[in-house]
C-alpha cells in the first residue's frame, strides 16, 4: 500500500450509488424551498452544481451514508427551516429582514442527531444566498500537533501560528467561493503585504497565501479585514462592492476548549487558545458584531473523539440555564465544583452576557418528529432501498428504536432493513 493510501481510503467520500433508483421529481434545495414549511419532512436534493463547493469546504464526512443514495440530499426538518428563515433574514430578505445581523450558535446534541449535517445545510443555504463560507471541518486537526507551528515573537503569553493550516483554510475558502471572491476588489491598505498588486481581487489576495505559508497568516488577516470591511479605505473607493454576509462553521468545538497537543520550548502543553488560528475563530463568539457585514457563526460539538473538557460542559450548562432565565446569582446556576480545576479561560470565553446585542445561543438538536421520519423513510423506499410498505406504525417502531428520531440511528435502521429484505 502506497503511503497515504489508507488514509485516502478512510477519508474517501462517495456521494452517489448508481444502483439506487433515481427519484423522479425530487425537489432541490433552493432559496424558496429552504423556508417552505409545506415541504417539511421531505428530503431535498443538494443542487448538483453546488456539490463541488461543498466538497471543497469539506462539508461531507466519510461516515454519513451519502453512498447509499443516488444523489446527496438532506431532510428538511424543523431546525433546518428555522435556520433557512434566519439566513433569509440576515440576507435582508423575507418577512423580517435584519441585514447585518450576526447570529452566533453553538450546536449541541446527541451522537447522530445531525449536527454536522446541520452545518452542511447551513453551508448549502449560504452558497445559495451568495455568502462567503469559511469552514473548519475538523477542529481537532488544529490541535493534534499534526501541522507545523511557529511562535510569534514578542507576544505574552507566547502565541503560535500554524502556517500550513492557514494556507489550507485559504485554499478551501477560495475554491468554494471563487466566483464571489473574484468579484470583490481589495479595498483596504495592507502594508504587511507589499507584493499585493493594487486593484487585485480577493481571490488573488488569498492566493498569495497558498504559495508561501510563511506569509499565510498575514494574508489571512488581510483577507479577513477585507471581508469584514464595511467601507473602503481612502483612495481605494473605486469599484468597492458591499461585502456579503459570512457563514463561519467549526465542527468539533470541544477540541478547542482544552490544552492542545503542541508543546512550547519548555515542553509544556500549549493551550488551544494560544494558537492564533483557534483564537481568531473563538474571538468571533465574543460580544459585539464580530462579522461587520452580518452572518452566521455555527460552532458544533461532536461526540465522536470527544475530549469532553469539564469547562465546556459547564459553560454549555450555563448557556442552557441562561436561556431558561436562571440568573448567575441563582443557586441553580451551574458552577464548577471546588478543586475541579475547570478551565477558567473557557468559562470566561463562553460566559453568557447579561445584556448582549448578539449573544451566543445554544441550540440543541433533538430527534426528528414521526412525520419527518416518515418522509425520510419514503426517500429510502423511493430509492429502492426499502421494500416494506411504510405505515405510521412501521415508522413509529423505528422512531422508538432510534431513541426518539435520532436521525443517524434512523439511517442505520433503514440500511439494516434493506439488508434484511434483500
Amino acid at each position: 500500500m502506497a503511503p497515504g493510501e489508507r488514509r485516502a481510503l478512510k477519508k474517501r467520500i462517495v456521494l452517489s450509488n448508481p444502483n439506487a433508483l433515481e427519484i423522479e421529481g425530487m425537489v432541490d434545495l433552493s432559496a424558496e424551498t429552504m423556508v417552505d414549511s409545506r415541504l417539511r419532512g421531505t428530503v431535498l436534493g443538494l443542487p448538483m452544481p453546488m456539490i463541488d463547493q461543498l466538497r471543497a469546504v469539506e462539508a461531507f464526512k466519510p461516515k454519513q451514508g451519502w453512498s447509499i443514495f443516488r444523489r446527496p440530499g438532506t431532510v428538511l426538518r424543523r431546525d433546518t427551516i428555522e435556520m433557512g428563515r434566519l439566513v433569509e433574514q440576515i440576507s435582508g430578505e423575507g418577512d423580517k429582514p435584519q441585514k447585518g445581523k450576526v447570529a452566533k450558535k453553538i450546536i449541541n446534541g446527541m451522537k447522530g442527531s445531525g449536527k454536522s449535517v446541520h452545518l452542511l445545510q447551513a453551508m448549502a443555504m449560504a452558497f445559495l444566498k451568495k455568502w462567503v463560507v469559511i469552514t473548519v471541518p475538523d477542529a481537532r486537526e488544529l490541535v493534534c500537533a499534526n501541522t507545523a507551528y511557529t511562535a510569534v515573537e514578542g507576544t505574552k503569553p507566547l502565541q503560535y501560528i500554524q502556517p500550513n493550516a492557514v494556507s489550507a483554510l485559504l485554499k478551501r475558502t477560495v475554491e468554494a467561493n471563487r466566483e464571489l471572491l473574484a468579484e470583490l476588489k481589495v479595498s483596504q491598505n495592507h502594508p504587511s503585504l507589499p507584493m499585493l498588486q493594487p486593484g487585485s481581487t480577493l481571490e488573488e489576495l488569498a492566493k498569495l497565501g497558498f504559495a508561501d505559508p510563511a506569509i499565510s497568516w498575514a494574508v489571512f488577516q488581510a483577507f479577513w479585514a477585507e471581508l469584514t470591511a464595511s467601507a473602503p479605505a481612502a483612495g481605494l473607493e473605486k469599484g468597492f462592492v458591499p461585502r456579503p454576509p459570512m457563514l463561519v462553521t467549526v465542527d468539533g468545538l470541544a477540541h478547542w476548549m482544552t490544552e492542545s497537543e503542541y508543546r512550547d520550548a519548555d515542553y509544556n502543553k500549549i493551550h488551544a487558545h494560544d494558537l492564533y488560528f483557534v483564537k481568531h475563530f473563538l474571538s468571533l463568539l465574543k460580544e459585539g458584531d464580530s462579522l461587520k457585514n452580518g452572518g452566521l457563526l455555527l460552532y458544533a460539538t461532536s461526540l465522536s473523539n470527544n475530549p469532553n473538557p469539564l469547562a465546556l460542559s459547564i459553560a454549555l450548562d450555563r448557556l442552557t440555564a441562561h436561556q431558561a432565565g436562571i440568573s448567575a446569582s441563582s443557586p441553580e446556576y451551574p458552577n464548577p465544583a471546588a478543586y475541579s480545576g475547570a478551565d477558567e479561560r473557557v468559562l470566561e470565553l463562553l460566559k453568557p452576557a447579561e445584556k448582549a446585542i448578539s449573544p451566543v445561543e445554544l441550540q440543541t438538536l433533538e430527534g426528528i418528529t414521526r412525520d419527518e421520519a416518515r418522509g425520510f423513510y419514503e426517500y429510502f423506499a423511493l430509492s429502492g432501498l426499502l421494500r416494506d410498505s411504510i405505515t405510521d406504525q412501521w415508522v413509529g417502531q423505528r422512531w422508538s428504536l432510534s431513541g426518539g428520531g435520532i436521525i443517524g440511528e434512523l439511517e442505520k435502521l433503514g440500511r439494516r432493513f434493506r439488508a434484511a429484505s434483500a
Binding site: 422508538s400 428504536l401 435520532i406
Partner: protein, 309 residues
C-alpha cells in the same frame, strides 16, 4: 500410698491393720457383715460357712407370658435407621391396599395439596430421608389424594393431613396485578446480574432508561430491539411510553431483564397478549446464572494445562 502397688506383703499388712482397728472399735458388733467382708481369707484357705444361701422364689409361669423378658422396640423398623419414615410409608401402603377399590378422579381434578417439602419432612420425622425415598412417599400420597372426595375415608383424610405444610399455601387465590389508578403498569424482572423495573403507560412510544435516551444506554441496535421486544413483537411500540430503571450486570443482561419486565408490565395492560408474548419468548424466565468456580479448576470447568513435570 501402698494401695497403688499391692503385693502379697502389703496386702497382708493391710489386712492385719484393718483387723486390729475394727476389732477395737465400738461398731464392731453392729456391722458383722462388713467385718466379715474385710476379714476375707485367702483363696487357698477353706472358707468358714456361716449362713446357708436362700433359694430363688418359684417361677410363676402364668404371669411370665404377660411380661417381656427384655425391652422390645415400639416400631418394627427400629433398627432400620429411619423407623418413623418407614412406619409412615408402611401406614400409607396399608391404607392404599385397604382402599384400592375406591373410585378415583383424574390427577388434574384432585384437590391441590401442599405436601411437605423435603427439608420440612426431614424435620417432621427427624430423620435424614433421601430425596428419592421421599418422592416415592409423595407418590403414594398423591395416589391416595386421587380418591373421589365424596368417598374419601376419614382415616385417609386424617393421614393425608398429617403430611401437609402448615398454613395452606393454596388456600388464598393469587390476585393478578393490575394497572394502577393512574394507568401505570409496573413490571420487575431479573436476568443474569441485572434487575429491571419497568413502568408502562399508554403513550406514543417514548422510552427512557435510567433517565437517559435508550440510544445512549444501548448503543447496539440488537440490545435496543431485545429490550423492547415485547412491544415490538406485538406491534405496540408506538402505543406505550416506557420508563425503565435498570441496574447491575452488563449490557446484554440489562437489555434482557428489561425484555422480561416490559413483557410483564404489558400483560397487566393486555392480558390477552399472553400467548403472543409466550411465542415471542418474553414470558419464559431464563434462570441461568454464572456457574461457580471450582477448586482445582481455572474457571467453572476449565482445567489447568497439563504439564509434564
Amino acid at each position: 500410698m501402698a494401695w497403688h502397688k499391692p503385693n502379697g506383703l502389703t496386702q497382708a499388712m493391710q489386712s492385719l491393720r484393718l483387723t486390729s482397728a475394727i476389732s477395737n472399735s465400738s461398731i464392731n458388733a453392729s456391722r458383722p457383715t462388713f467385718n466379715a467382708l474385710r476379714t476375707r481369707t485367702y483363696a487357698t484357705e477353706t472358707e468358714a460357712v456361716s449362713i446357708p444361701a436362700a433359694a430363688a422364689p418359684e417361677i410363676d409361669f402364668v404371669s411370665f407370658s404377660q411380661k417381656p423378658a427384655r425391652i422390645i422396640p415400639a416400631s418394627r423398623a427400629y433398627f432400620s435407621g429411619s423407623p418413623r419414615f418407614i412406619d409412615a410409608l408402611l401406614e400409607l401402603e396399608a391404607l392404599q391396599a385397604r382402599h384400592a377399590g375406591l373410585p378415583t378422579v383424574a390427577p388434574a381434578e384432585a384437590p391441590r395439596m401442599a405436601w411437605f417439602k423435603l427439608p420440612q419432612f426431614r424435620d417432621f420425622v427427624g430423620e435424614p430421608v433421601p430425596n428419592k425415598k421421599y418422592k416415592s412417599l409423595v407418590k403414594i400420597l398423591q395416589q391416595l389424594n386421587r380418591i373421589q372426595p365424596e368417598f374419601l375415608p376419614a382415616d385417609v383424610r386424617d393421614t393425608l393431613n398429617k403430611f401437609l405444610r402448615p398454613g395452606n399455601p393454596y388456600s388464598k387465590e393469587i390476585v393478578p396485578r393490575t394497572v394502577d389508578e393512574s394507568g401505570l403498569a409496573r413490571g420487575k424482572a431479573k436476568r443474569k446480574e441485572s434487575h429491571a423495573v419497568v413502568q408502562l403507560v399508554e403513550g406514543e412510544g417514548e422510552v427512557l432508561v435510567n433517565g437517559k435516551n435508550i440510544v445512549n444506554v444501548f448503543s447496539r441496535l440488537h440490545d435496543r430491539e431485545s429490550a423492547l421486544w415485547a412491544l415490538q413483537a406485538t406491534q405496540r411500540l408506538d402505543k406505550y411510553n416506557v420508563w425503565i430503571k435498570v441496574k447491575g450486570g452488563g449490557v446484554t443482561g440489562q437489555a434482557e431483564a428489561i425484555t422480561l419486565a416490559v413483557g410483564r408490565a404489558l400483560l397487566m395492560h393486555e392480558p390477552g397478549l399472553k400467548p403472543v408474548l409466550r411465542k415471542a419468548g418474553v414470558i419464559t424466565v431464563d434462570p441461568r446464572r454464572v456457574e461457580r468456580k471450582k477448586p482445582g479448576h481455572v474457571k467453572a470447568r476449565k482445567m489447568p494445562t497439563w504439564v509434564k513435570r
